[in-house]
Amino acid sequence: MAFKVTIDGKMAEVPEGTTVLEAARMLNITIPTLCHHPKLTPFGGCRLCIVEIKGIPRPVTSCTTPVNDGMEVTTSTPQIEDLRKTVLELILSDHPNDCMICERAGDCTLQEMAYIYGVRENRFEGERRTYEKKDGNPFIERDMEKCILCGRCVKVCDEVQGVGAIDFAYRGFQSKICPPYEKDLNCEFCGQCVSVCPTGALSGKMWSRLGRQKDVKEVDTTCAYCGTGCNITLHVKGNDVIRVTSKEDTWNEGWLCVKGRFGYQFINSPDRLKKPLIRITPKDQSNPPFTHFAKGGHGGITRSQFKEVSWNEALDHISGRLTEIKAKHGADAIGGLSSARCTNEENYAFQKMIRAAVGANNVDHCARL
């Protein structure tokens, strides 16, 4: 069923169940929000999205209110804007306001709101929450003094990731988002929570002071970790990737796993293989191959025992040796192990090659990366 709704004088027809906020966005009408996230169930905590609806005596949150047929909505009146300003001042009265050193400066919804509403003086100055203890987990910086309790991290962890590693604790002014018993976060470290945080409360530990959003060039690409192929965006500063994110309008909806989001350091690693290598010395049976490849010492196989070659050379070498082994020992002497980091198509081609070209059934891949 379609409902007719009038927002700020503009008419729209929306399907039943559409919220006032969604309807307004369809009409390109901006309503400020902090706790709302289009992929998560509505929360209604920040109160910025309040609007007036004809026939309802008090302001209501547009993010939680479903459209009714014939509804008439006004998104901005002096009273509404005044309430929004009070709400912002209250949030900022309990916020470090240290934008100068914040990772998210320039990319922070709270900062943006303060800018739009011109909040400089604060009528409601008072005690601010301060926390001594920092979360000791390896990936995620959790600066709870910057947390505005919008609840997005709690929701994404529960509704999207299905983990529920964090939740609200305590009451009143002391309310706080934390893992059970305030222990260090010990979860999947997918970082979905980081990606939905509207302020600088959650960020990647490894991103710290490497560059803010205005300094980076964004490069859209595909995650190379597995066949899923999530779309990612590299944040490049100079020639370094300093952060990886994913956009909401990708097929993976902006959600990543710990590897895609935080496992990007291999890109600039000196150990990274960039050209094919051919082993040039006979295998030393007492030492498993590759063990000390990177380090080079310890009487293991060292860098000098490999030769950098071109792709043509490498492929010739492989086909030559495969033909040779097959002729000498038969196809069953050959097995293929491919990588879970290849795409499905690549893996398909690989097994095809082993089965059809080589003629062996010994083929698998390291799906357990």
Binding site: G44, G45, P66, T86, V87, L149, G172
Partner: protein, 592 residues
């Protein structure tokens, strides 16, 4: 001696705290020891009964001989012997210990419906409830009424929710009955989190079966198959009696499968709350039952459409439900004969503060505040001047001493900026500082805010901080306006009833006692002499006899003086505890 003797010992939480259990045990063992003749013993029964209101006088004991009821007050175990000797055995009531006239006055202006059986029947004995016409209403409903007829009757009675908001109960039931859903629930809200409120606890402790009967009738009316009683774990006695009552009702077939062979199944489960005030809010309560953190959510959708586990759900207050059986039995006209045009029936209040008779009262809606305070409450303690009455707890406001003719009903109280609320009524006298009263309630609401929405979580904290600095003499001239502005914004912008009403105590104390705020801010004075930081203590030379009592009492060593010579307080060292003021026999310590 042939008369049937009944001894009733008040064993509500008040009675228990005062030693009711020991008193009852002493009666039991002494009667046995006395070897009271067998025929007498057989006819003597002992009851533990629920709260009857005047908790200040516990332990209350009734000795009923035939038609004569004698009520004793302040009874301790060592007094039992004399009662047995003189009254039970010799037939001469002990006049010294009997309740005085004002005890009877306390009861005269009251009309007891929900509390009518509390204090008269043994709440742990379903037989006692049945003997007092209990479960007759279910009988009538199941055998002679359609669910629609029940809803009609409740609508006609004019009963409105006693949990605070005063929503018409019949209308709520009807909405739930009509809401589509394969499963429906009814929840009894026994969270009772307002500070100082104990109406619901008393009803459950004193007459749990009435609440259960109300729930069964509600379930039948809306078509619910399962009910929950959400009760705070801090009410162990109420929980225990409720458990016993549910079990007994199940055994008699008032709960369970196929009630009255009508093919209707209904069961009740107890769900313990952990004592968060906000869990009394219906959507938070539902979240809590579902195992989530008790945080409210925005309405609509309302619980009658989308409640527990997403199913249509009615939530009613304990007192609301306890009214139901009486309305069914006595008819809607009888119920609506009490009260005013829009507020029908009676209401239970917890009368506390500076009145002589504190305790639980049940009065018809529309009674004047004056009748409550002077006739039932016995007036102000120590003949002090009545300053204000705070109703509705942390969500309510105050009514000043010169508005005593006001009728106590939903509309009249709302008109003056207060509410009936769930029934807290605190009487304040000239020694109470209104800024401090507001601060007390804000301290409560800010720490009980669930933390979900900004205006309530941070706004109430800021209100409290401003009030706090005013009581410390650090208030600024602009603070009153700031309080008014912030209060208004919190009310308009908060998500649930907690935040929407939390500023009420501030608004109403400023409305009626603005000059008291100004005295704190401008003159750095607390007119009621409550705010410690604004007090100074000094010794009046002319009155001081140099006895040294104050010097010994002062924990800070701030008082010096030679024997028999006027003493002096060193203002710098004084911590303003008031010990000297309390201890001086010659009124030589001045507090200003």
């Amino acid at each position: 001696m042939n008369k049937r003797i009944t001894i009733q010992v008040c064993m509500g939480t008040g009675g228990m705290a005062a030693g009711g259990a020991e008193v009852l045990a002493t009666f039991e063992s002494l009667m046995k020891e006395k070897n009271i003749p067998a025929e007498f013993k057989k006819e003597c029964s002992m009851h533990k009964v629920g709260c009857r209101g005047l908790c200040a006088r516990d332990v209350l004991v009734d000795v009923i001989a035939g038609d004569n009821r004698t009520t004793y007050q302040y009874i301790k175990p060592d007094m039992v012997q004399r009662i047995i000797d003189e009254h039970v055995v010799a037939g001469n009531p002990v006049s010294d210990w009997q309740v005085t006239d004002d005890y009877h006055k306390f009861h005269e202006k009251q009309i007891k419906v929900v509390l009518s059986d509390c204090g008269n029947i043994d709440p742990e004995d379903i037989g006692a409830y049945i003997a007092a016409e209990g479960y007759k209403a279910i009988d009538k409903v199941f055998n002679a009424m359609s669910p629609e007829a029940v809803i009609d009757m409740i609508k006609k009675s004019g009963l409105r929710g006693r949990g605070g908001a005063g929503f018409p109960t019949g209308v709520k039931w009807e909405a739930c009955r009509k809401a589509p859903g394969d499963r429906k629930y009814i929840i009894c809200n026994a969270d009772e989190g307002d500070p100082g409120a104990f109406m619901d606890r008393a009803v459950i402790e004193g007459n749990p079966h009435a609440v259960l009967e109300g729930m069964v009738i509600g379930a039948y009316a809306i078509g619910a198959t399962k009910g929950y009683v959400y009760i705070r774990a801090e009410y162990p006695l109420a929980v225990e009696r409720l458990k016993k009552a549910i079990k007994a009702a199940g055994e008699r077939g008032y709960l369970g499968k196929n009630i009255f062979n009508k093919g209707f199944d209904f069961d009740i489960k107890i769900k313990l709350g952990a004592g968060a005030f906000v869990c009394g809010e219906e959507t938070a309560l539902i979240a809590s039952i579902e195992g989530q953190r008790g945080m409210p959510r925005a309405k609509p959708p309302f619980p009658v459409h989308h409640g527990l586990w997403g199913k249509p759900t009615v939530i009613n207050n304990v007192e609301t439900l306890a009214n139901i059986p009486y309305i069914i039995k006595r008819g809607p006209e009888w119920f609506s004969s009490y009260g005013t045009e829009k507020s029908k029936g009676t209401k239970v209040f917890a009368l506390t503060g500076k009145v002589k008779n504190t305790g639980l009262i049940e009065v018809p809606m529309g009674i004047t505040l004056k009748e409550i305070i002077y006739d039932i409450g016995g007036g102000i303690e120590n003949n002090k001047k009545l300053k204000a009455v705070q109703t509705g707890g942390p969500s309510g406001g105050c009514i000043t001493g010169d508005m005593l003719d006001i009728n106590v009903d939903y509309e009249s109280l709302a008109k003056v900026g207060s509410i009936v609320g769930s029934g807290g009524m605190i009487v304040l006298d000239e020694d109470d500082c209104m800024v401090n009263v507001a601060k007390y309630f804000l301290n409560f609401t800010q720490s009980e805010s669930c933390g979900k929405c900004v205006p309530c979580r941070i706004g109430t904290k800021r209100l409290l901080e401003i009030l706090d600095r005013i009581t410390k003499g650090l208030g600024k001239e602009s603070d009153i306006d700031l309080l008014l502005k912030l209060s208004g914004d919190i009310k308009s912008a908060s998500l649930c009833g907690l935040g929407q009403t939390a500023p009420n105590p501030v608004l109403s104390t400023i409305k009626y006692f603005r000059e008291e705020y100004e005295a704190h801010i401008k003159d750095k004075q607390c007119p009621a002499k409550v705010c410690r930081d604004l007090l100074t203590y000094s010794i009046l030379e002319d009155f001081c006899k140099g006895c040294g009592a104050c010097m010994r009492a002062c924990p800070a060593g701030a008082i010096k003086g030679e024997k028999k010579k006027p003493h002096v307080i060193n203002a710098g060292a004084c911590i303003k505890c008031g010990s000297c003021f309390d201890v001086c026999k010659f009124k030589a310590v001045s507090r200003g």
